[in-house]
Amino acid sequence: MERRAFIKSAAVATLAAPAFLHARHTSAADQKFTIALIPGLTTDAFYITMRKGAEEAAKAVGATIVFQGGPDFNPVTQVPVLDAVIAKQPDAILIAPTDKDQLIQPLKNASNAGIPVITVDTFIGTGVYQTGSGDADFPLAYIASDNLLGGAIAARALAKAVDEKGKVYVSNVKPGISTTDQREQGFKEEMKKFPGITVLETQFNDDDANKAASQLQAVYARNSDLDGVFGANLFSALGAANGVQQAGQLGKIRVVAFDAPTSIVDNINSGLVDMAIAQHPAEIGYFGVMAAYAHLTGNSIPISIGTGFTVIDKANVADPAIAKFIYSD
Amino acid sequence: MNSSVPLLEVRNLSRYFGAVKALDDCSMAVYPGEVVALAGDNGAGKTTMIKAISGVYRPTSGDILIEGKPVSFSSPENAREQGIETIYQDLALADNLSIGANIFLGREPMKKFFGFLPVLDRKAMAKAAEETMALLDFHVKRLDAPVSNFSGGQRQAVAIGRAVYWNAKILVMDEPTAALGVPEQRKVVSLIKSLKAQGKGVVFISHNLQDIFAVSDRIVVLRRGVVAGSRNIADTNHDDIVKLMVGG
């Protein structure tokens, strides 16, 4: 897939943040901006946490956040919301596009209407913007976790847990979602570095924990030497972990989960999940608003910002410094 | 077998719909074991008459008497309770249920399974179905088969059987032979005859003069809401009835 030049989160923290702060001092009092945040879907802890980060940044710079989105991760429900938001002429739009291609034209309408567009979490076109070529280079910036990196982190964690040998597979939602596709891709690429590990066929569960659990049991029934599973999102991991439990293989089949909702704490404590990889959605929301604000106040902003990950396991789950990355409701 | 008191008597019955006089001062009587056919052209008032008898319409004026006693019906259910069962063309059968289940629909018999668990008493329903249908000279082998398996005439028999089982005194039938093939029409005619033999009173509407002459004792001809004439079957013929129907 397309490669993007990510600035690592550390770099963001050191380079971008002072620029934002500078911007704030120059013109915060002049104008009160309205910034729209359109999530991939409204009913997801990930985006709800992102919204919190955005609200925090908005409070800091005196902007107003409008949070509106569709009920599910689907362009059909997202585009009407986008159109309604455009009609109200916000000063900037932060959006997690639900499709790489189908959102290009609707977002172009916003851009043509003079509203700056920044994509968060997911992207349109290739995700590389402001190149002067292609019809999807108009957004100002793409701010997200580096999901390829996240997948690679998951692979390393799982490899370590299974002593770098044995059989593992990816429990994934469904193909075609840029983020989960990249996690799987990053996972598989990193796993190539561990010749003792065989990666079995990916199982798609349609975001149904019940199905994910059944799939784990079926894979285990066929591969009694199954050692680990990577759940590429919340319900994939929740289901796979339950499958391990139902199969009576707790502690024998290791589970690495992507995403960290509040329920993950119990799952880690009970040993159901060995490790959870928390994205930093609040950071994505925070940087998104800051980038929009910097642009609106005449500062230049980076085209691509990658936020980091926190790996949560039994050893650190109680640590408040770590626990703050658990998505809260 | 005829007694002097009619099972059903309609006296000076009128039913108006606004200015339209659908029935105007009509009288008729049905004695036990008697089959009365209602004949008449479209719009003559046949349907209004049976709807008044079966409790669907309240008469504007006039009386309905059952066995000599004046009655009034608040609803079709009420008419049924007082002994008048109406069988419409659609038969009102649940096609997916057996004969027994249709006979008992809405008042199914229950029994206790292991002395405590109430369950449907299918055996009782099947037995009642068998006996009732035998009264109508209709013998079924598979009493658990849904009625959709049966022919139109047999389904008519089921609808009639239900009325008989619940002790209807008077059966009102709307075009019972319409939409049936010739052998099926004959079956229905014989069903009506067996009802007659059991002393029931039957009122039926038919367009088919052949059926009317085959089964009825008397023909009441309606024309534009009034009784144009009433003839005993022995004293009349096709031409006479047609003349009454068209007038002149």
């Binding site: 409204t42 929740l238 409701d329 | 096609d95 997916n96 629909l105 598979r142 004959r186 005859k193 033999a197």
Partner: protein, 353 residues
Amino acid sequence: MVEDVTHPHRQVHVAPQADHADVRKTLVQQIAQMRAWLFLAALLIFFEIWARADFGGSFVGSSFNWRSVAIFAVAPLLLAVGQTFVIISGGIDLSAGFVMGLAAVVAAHAINLLGVHMPLPLAMVLGIVIAVAAAGVPGAINGLLISRLKVPPFIGTLGMFGVARGAAFLLAGGTTVPVKNSTFAELGNGQIFGVPYLVLVTVVLVLIMHYLLSQTRFGQHNYAIGANAQAARRAGINIKSHLTRLYVLSALCAGLGGALYAARFTAGAAQAGEPLLLDSVAAVVIGGASLFGGSGTIIGTIAGALVIAVIQYGLVFMNVEPFWQFIAVGVVIIISVLIDQLQRRFSGAKQDE
């Protein structure tokens, strides 16, 4: 006396003829009704042969596989048994999936709150009761909309689909709600003599629902309403109250499904039942019910749910490309409906008249 009058007209010998047809028709109908179990048997044989040929193992010989399939079928089956009643009556309950999610979230919150004040097992039982009762509310509204206000079931429950969904997500705060109650977790994941508690609870509910549908007036009236609502009304059945109870029943089943979901995953999720709704309708249809109403059985629905579970589990077990699962389930649904149509044509139902 009867003989005397009717004998001259005994020329009608349709009855004996039709009786032969009866037997044949009834046989076809019985086979058609059993089709889901025949499907299931065929599938099991198919997977067994495949497993032996492919890697010399056994599919049906493994109790692990049976347990896994049973656990997998639990949630869709709980939705499907309620749905069976609704579909037989000629309706449909599209809200069941999110009613299940709502109940899962309510169960999680209730059990957490109660657990502070009372022993865990008691908190669990009360929490489940509260969750199931909460599910009854949207069910009752569905029922009133459909029976009193004459809203078509498809539209009424579609509206409730949205309302229950919103309510569930609001209650959950948009995320999953973890449950802290070890007894509840044991209910969701423990087993007795190798049989998971979840499966036991489901078996009990399914038996009750089978009794209700096949042995009571309620069940009998349900069939009659589905076949001919007018006839049922004329027979004195109170259709309004029947329909109201019907949709409450469906919601209660979904509610139990939601509570058991929360027990199993030790978390309530608003979207718990969303992917299960269509599977549950498919299970009912494969099980022999007609979406036009009037036919269907709980026994058939059990087989329908197992057919879907076995296909999905079996194809993963056989390591088949995942997308074949969708195709396989789709094909089974189509074949099932075709058999239903054929059976209707063969038994010459009402259409002829």
